[in-house]
């Protein structure tokens, strides 16, 4: 028997004392009640479900909601303390209060800068080629804008009209983060980013009409190493054939930067496409599926699954003064968002009509951060290009990495976005056999678990068996174990096949390999 872990010996004997807190009795994922509509979003979604004859999923349990909200808003797991406090809280408004707290946290800006970084293609090297210092400046600007919750119309206008040095006026990097610095490629990037549309599929004259706005964008280098200036060259002359994507020809006074005229058209409240593209994307980021899906292929023949819902969110965004957090708060607070991931209908349109929350594997960055958090370990990130290589300090969180050229084998294996094109599909949530091997059996993951300071701390300080198992469950899955799970753990410890400390290692290993740990659910 291991002298340092006296509880282990008692474990087999004390099985009967494994009482689970009331919240964990029975089903750990769903609350006992059916979800009732609790706001405009729910009226629209539940109304549509009723029309289609689809029964929605149950409301998620508190534990599931807690974990989901942390992962969707912060890209970060709740700590065991946070989980314990939330589960014990009897306040009926605790979900809404949690949403407000999360939206105010620093990790919100880190995580959403990661998402926007995919879309805005923040990458130092190939094929997007910003260079490290400009990529970092660009990332910092995006992150600051999100932290300050800059109104979305202003955010877009600053990106679209910026001129100056890539190092000193960071939003100009929008114009550099393209595969080719020529008007057609710029138009494609603008359409994808702000209209959620693929200009490549537009009729040629519409594409040309948009590209004309960017025909005066020029680039020049300076005496400073790798500094580049993006500017509008009035000598380029008034753009020939600049036509807004809605078909209205643009009248641009001579000498004026046509990008400003385009930005003003884009962000005008009466232009529905701009608000539609972004609220659809926010919905996609939170629920895993756009109201129009995919979220970056908006076109007349791709109808929204719920037009009234989309229109409602557009109006809310504009009426709130383009407040992105306002829209996030509306969605997060809805019963629709808070439904369990376990469907109660096999109707073919159930998923597309948001009858349950959609299961998704954690993004590469979120997953490695979660593994680091539950084991108390760190990772190394560096860039292989360009020289001189960049190395980040050991406490770096992957969601806050400023540049997609800074990476690790794990991030590559788990398919973080390469940020080559800005398409949502660049980030894959598939589980490949190579990923399964890595999680189940790599020395990398094994070492994190074996050497886990968190696990050591639990084994050293726990006074009774229930405490150990509860703590490991709270740490890894943000909930208490159910009685049957306790029984399974007890049987494993009692079998004697594995030495005591190794059994605790195996428990941690098993829990990080469950679907519950690896997926948003």
């Amino acid at each position: 028997m291991d002298a340092k872990t006296p509880w282990l010996g008692a474990l087999a004997l004390a099985a009967a004392s494994f009482g689970a807190p009331a919240a964990a009795q029975g089903r750990p994922f769903e609350s006992g009640v059916a979800a009732e509509p609790a706001g405009r979003i729910d009226e629209l979604v539940f109304g549509r479900l009723a029309e289609l004859g689809i029964e929605p999923a149950r409301l998620s349990s508190d534990a599931v909601f807690l974990r989901r909200a942390y992962l969707d808003v912060l890209g970060t797991l709740p700590t065991p303390l946070e989980a314990r406090a939330f589960l014990a809280d009897g306040d009926p408004a605790k979900r809404d209060l949690l949403i407000d707290r999360l939206l105010a946290r620093e990790e919100y800006a880190d995580f959403w800068a990661m998402r926007w970084g995919d879309l805005l293609r923040v990458k130092a090297e190939f094929p997007i080629n910003l260079w490290p210092n400009a990529a970092q400046a660009y990332h910092r600007w995006i992150r600051t804008s999100l932290a300050e919750n800059v109104p979305y119309d202003r955010f877009a206008r600053e990106l679209l009209t910026a001129s100056g040095s890539a190092l000193r006026v960071p939003p100009v990097n929008f114009w550099r983060a393209v595969p080719e610095e020529e008007p057609a490629a710029l138009a494609s990037a603008v359409a994808l980013t702000f209209l959620g549309a693929r200009a490549d599929a537009w009729p040629a004259e519409r594409r040309a009409g948009l590209a004309a706005f960017f025909s005066g964008v020029r680039y020049k280098s300076t005496a400073e190493w790798k500094e580049e200036i993006v500017y509008f060259d009035p000598a380029a002359g008034p753009p020939a054939g600049a036509v807004f994507p809605d078909g209205t020809p643009a009248a641009i006074p001579p000498g004026q930067d046509p990008r400003a005229a385009f930005a003003d058209w884009l962000i005008a409240p009466e232009n529905p496409w701009f608000a539609r593209a972004v609220v659809n994307r926010l919905w996609f980021w939170l629920l895993g599926r756009g109201i129009v899906h995919p979220p970056d292929d908006l076109r007349p023949d791709a109808p929204p699954a719920n037009p009234a819902l989309l229109a409602y969110l557009e109006r809310e965004l504009v009426a709130s003064g383009w407040d992105l957090k306002h829209v996030l708060r509306l969605i997060l607070g809805s019963r629709t968002y808070q439904l369990s991931a376990i469907p109660r209908s096999d109707h073919p349109q159930a998923a597309a009509s948001f009858a349950c929350y959609s299961l998704r594997r954690l993004e590469a960055e979120v997953l490695i951060d979660a593994l680091c958090q539950v084991t108390g370990t760190t990772e190394e990130y560096s860039s292989a290009v360009p020289e001189p290589f960049t190395y980040l300090p050991a406490d770096q969180r992957a969601i806050a990495i400023p540049d997609a050229s800074i990476t690790s084998p794990f991030l590559e294996l788990f398919a973080r976005s390469p940020r080559d094109t800005g398409l949502a599909a660049e980030r894959s949530g598939q589980v490949t056999p190579a990923q399964a091997l890595h999680l189940l059996n790599s020395s990398h993951v094994q070492r994190k678990i074996e050497d886990s300071p968190r696990l050591r701390g639990i084994l050293r300080s726990a006074r009774e068996p229930r405490q150990v198992v509860n703590r490991i469950y709270l740490l890894v899955l943000s909930r208490y174990p159910t009685p049957s799970e306790l029984a399974a753990v007890q049987a494993y410890f009692a079998s004697g096949e594995v030495e005591a400390r190794a059994a605790a290692v195996d428990l941690l290993w098993a829990l990080v390999n469950t679907a519950e740990f690896l997926y948003r659910h």
Partner: protein
């Protein structure tokens, strides 16, 4: 049963892939050239071993020596050696490769004119110049897509393996997506035990593997609640495959102790040498694409001491690989492709801070191909007297990849499916690029 062993004949493979796709699949197969537009000569090759010389190796010091160019070009390496290929002379630090020249063809007129690592790496491995609005997959990812799991491949070792770390510099799978990325082994085959990440876990017995797996299944509550979810079903399948590799016989492919000790010596007990041996074992068991990533060739400074260190290691591993493949009858169906992203400046930079270094040189460089039906003992094209420009028969990376695809039974004019549904040409049209078209000189049935 060792299910990594899938030496399906090409015919049966095509039938299998066609059966999966049904009648519509057959039409697509034609367009993708899965069933070759019957290339002349021996049956198509089934595997590629890519020796990737990361950083860009000097062409003058390897396969294109210029002894008459003087010390400013040759440095101390001025005595190239004859080979067993007719009239072919190579660098003096490659004596073992000199004995194998009958097995390989040297292309001395590779050119793309790009001197940046990232863009050149992309160009050489995809065949596409950068900047056409798409990020194309490299050859390994293409093979993984067209000859991997989607095409009836059933091996437990993934179809595209990198020994030991990915070359990086660009996203290998490009628009195909992460599913077609290489499986990087990690670890070091030159160590006592080759610890392949995910396959070989040190200190965990098979019994413990089995019992903790049972524990996992007992605790995987969400997977039970969502048993029918397609993502979780796919994960379940991945997990089952992973355990077949961890606990089954298939993982033994990575156990180099099964090889004859004398043979291991001949390959060289270095990471590169043992990677060459590992690559042979993998293609022997049906893996269609193996990349040996050999970094360290970006020799801006102290170039010649680096060559004296690196070239003997390259020489042993590469030469033994060719001899070993040939001796086992594997060379006929295995293409060995040796290249870096570019060559190195022929004129040596003697001044500080380089102190005898060579820079990047994309104007002309060398590549080597062997096996899989390529005709050995040949040289294609030539660089000028100092190795600075192409003198005759320019060959663009596109042309070399076209030849490799042709030997694999793929139509170089065919396409690869983009996930959005369209078909993207495997290679760019030759017309817009420097180069001289099909490499008939070294392809079977060609002229000369």
């Amino acid at each position: 049963m060792d299910s990594t062993r899938v030496p399906l004949s090409p015919t049966r493979r095509d039938v299998l892939a066609g059966a999966v796709g049904g009648a519509a699949g057959l039409v697509l197969l034609d367009r993708r050239g899965l069933s070759a537009p019957l290339a002349p000569g021996p049956p198509p090759a089934q595997a590629v071993i890519q020796i990737w010389m990361g950083g860009g190796p000097s062409h003058l010091d390897t396969f294109d020596p210029k002894p008459d160019a003087g010390e400013d070009y040759c440095g101390p390496l001025r005595k190239p050696i004859p080979t067993n290929g007719d009239g072919i002379v190579i660098g003096e630090l490659l004596p073992e490769l000199a004995k194998q020249a009958d097995k390989y063809a040297i292309v001395r007129s590779m050119t793309h004119g790009v001197n940046a690592h990232e863009t050149a790496s992309y160009l050489v491995q995809t065949g596409h110049p950068a900047g056409d609005g798409l990020v194309h997959p490299c050859a390994g990812a293409v093979i993984s897509r067209l000859r991997g799991y989607d095409a009836g491949f059933t091996g437990l070792v993934p179809p595209y393996v990198v020994l030991t770390r990915p070359p990086g510099r660009f996203s290998e799978a490009g628009f195909l997506g992460s599913r077609y990325k290489p499986f990087a082994t990690g670890g070091d085959p030159a160590r006592e035990r080759f610890v392949v990440e995910g396959v070989v876990a040190e200190g965990i017995s098979a019994a413990r593997q089995r019992s903790r797996r049972e524990l996992l299944h007992g605790l995987d509550a969400l997977a039970r609640a969502l048993r029918d979810h397609p993502d979780l079903a796919a994960r379940q399948e991945s997990e089952a495959r992973a355990y077949d590799l961890i606990l089954g016989d298939a993982g033994q492919v990575f156990d180099l102790s099964a090889e004859d000790a004398a043979l291991r010596e001949r390959y060289g007990r270095s990471t590169f040498g043992q990677s060459c041996l590992m690559a042979r074992r993998l293609v022997e068991r049906g893996v269609p694409f193996v990349t040996i990533h050999y970094p360290g060739w970006d020799t801006h400074k102290q170039h010649f001491p680096a060559m004296r260190r690196l070239l003997p290691d390259l020489d042993r591993g590469f030469a033994t690989l060719l001899a070993d493949l040939a001796g086992r009858g594997l060379l006929e169906r295995t293409i060995v492709w040796w290249s870096g992203e570019f060559g190195r400046t022929p004129r040596v930079a003697w001044e500080p801070p380089w102190n005898g270094g060579r820079g990047h040189h994309g104007a002309v460089f060398s590549a080597v191909v062997a096996g899989g039906g390529f005709r050995g003992g040949r040289v294609v094209g030539a660089s000028d007297a100092r190795g600075e420009e192409v003198a005759e028969r320019p060959v663009h990376p596109r042309d070399l990849l076209a030849a490799i695809y042709e030997r694999l039974g793929l139509d170089p004019a065919g396409s690869v499916p983009h996930p959005d549904g369209r078909e993207v040409p495997l290679l760019p049209p030759a017309g817009d690029l420097p180069g001289g078209g099909r490499l008939a000189e070294i392809l079977p049935g060609g002229a000369a």
